[in-house]
Point group: C2
Chain length 213, copies 2
DNA sequence: ATTTCTTGACTGATCGATCAGTCAGAATCT
DNA sequence: AGATTCTGACTGATCGATCAGTCAAGAAAT
């Protein structure tokens, strides 16, 4: 079993990790203003003071959660993006796959961070800064990749396609319960892979349609 | 000047309307938990007590804002939906137009409510209830309309298309600043009509692509 | 022994909500 | 008509609870 690290380091990292995990869950469920430091400390099993000791302020703790998770996601996204064969026929689909998969996989943080991520996109000034800092660089790589798939298009069009695809992702992500509700109780396939592939098909179809318009 | 109503009634409605307008702006900018009743009262030019006098609680005031705006949007959406010729070739595009336009037009409440609307879709339990109550009925009409465009599809697929289209709308709505950023300062067309039409093309292309998959 | 980690006790500010009470005008009574 | 009662709109003061953040001192690790 697991404990490979030295016991002293273990204790320290355990508290920090518990805080980050609890914060991710808490912020996802209640939002930045909805989650109190006291409640967060309780759900992490530490004292409220420890949050300030490690992170200084609520803002920095929030930023740390987003930076940690976005770092993992960006790493995976860039890796997938670079692995795409420039001559592949389904190149655009692979671009969207590189965009969608990391947000849904293990490093994506599951439903919890998906909520935060979706909130970031529509968020306020605080979120805007975090998006700029943690997501814009990788986003530009995707815009460039999309642009490369349509030589006759403008970068602005590629950026709009990127944002629209992000919207598809965020709308589908945190709220799969509603699909079943709107379908009137019809049986919902739970096949995650197939679900992602249909999202990708939607994005590809949308992108091509914008180009032809 | 304009005051057609009796002065006593006028004073009452003015306060109520000012509260609703200020609340819509405030909730859009700061979110439910971020906007305090005291700050809201100040920006509406009334006492904090009056908010509770008229609405009872912060939750009910929030619900009133959403109910008021969603009612206008739903009305317009249903009107456009019913006006669609069943045999029209671009029927699916008209369905998405009926979905998108009211959220962007004058009854959509502008950027302010667009923020709230986008937040609702990814929101928490409180928002979930409001969505169910204020949006699901009309949403089912759209799912049915989409389903009608693809006779061989399942209702679940239609529901997923509807949600994906909503995602396209919400992602494009409140954050047009980012598109320019990601495009590297390239000039952004401000033609609203053309922008909506490209969103519609994206949704139509995505829907068809899902069907063919 | 010294640094690092963690805690409990505490602060001023602000939260949503409630209170008694003011005020203007409509309704009712004489 | 004049005095009275009633009602709805509205306010300032204040409630207990909770907010984020601070601090000195204990606990643990090196």
């Amino acid at each position: 079993m697991g404990a490979v690290r030295k016991p002293n380091h273990d204790a320290k990292l355990d508290a920090l990790e518990r805080i980050l995990v609890a914060a991710e869950l808490g912020f996802a469920e209640k939002g930045f203003d909805g989650l109190g430091m006291k409640a967060l400390a309780a759900s992490a099993g530490v004292s409220q003071s420890l949050l300030h000791y490690h992170f200084g302020s609520k803002d920095r703790l929030y930023a740390a959660v987003i930076e940690h998770r976005s770092s993992l996601i960006n790493q995976e996204r860039q890796k997938l993006l670079q692995a795409i064969e420039p001559t592949a026929a389904d190149r655009l689909a692979q671009v969207f796959r590189a965009l969608f998969l990391p947000a849904l996989g293990p490093s994506g943080g599951g439903r919890a961070y998906a909520r935060i991520f979706a909130g970031l996109i529509v968020g306020n000034a605080r979120d805007e800064i975090l998006v700029r800092k943690n997501y814009d660089d990788t986003a530009r790589l995707f815009v460039a990749a999309i642009h490369d798939c349509f030589p006759n298009s403008t970068v602005t069009q590629a950026a709009q396609i990127y944002l629209a695809a992000l919207g598809v992702l965020t709308a589908a992500l945190p709220r799969d319960g509603r699909a079943g509700r709107l379908a009137g109780g019809e049986h919902l396939e739970n096949n995650q892979d197939e679900f992602v592939e249909s999202l990708i098909r939607f994005a590809v179809g949308g992108a091509v349609a914008i180009q032809n318009g």
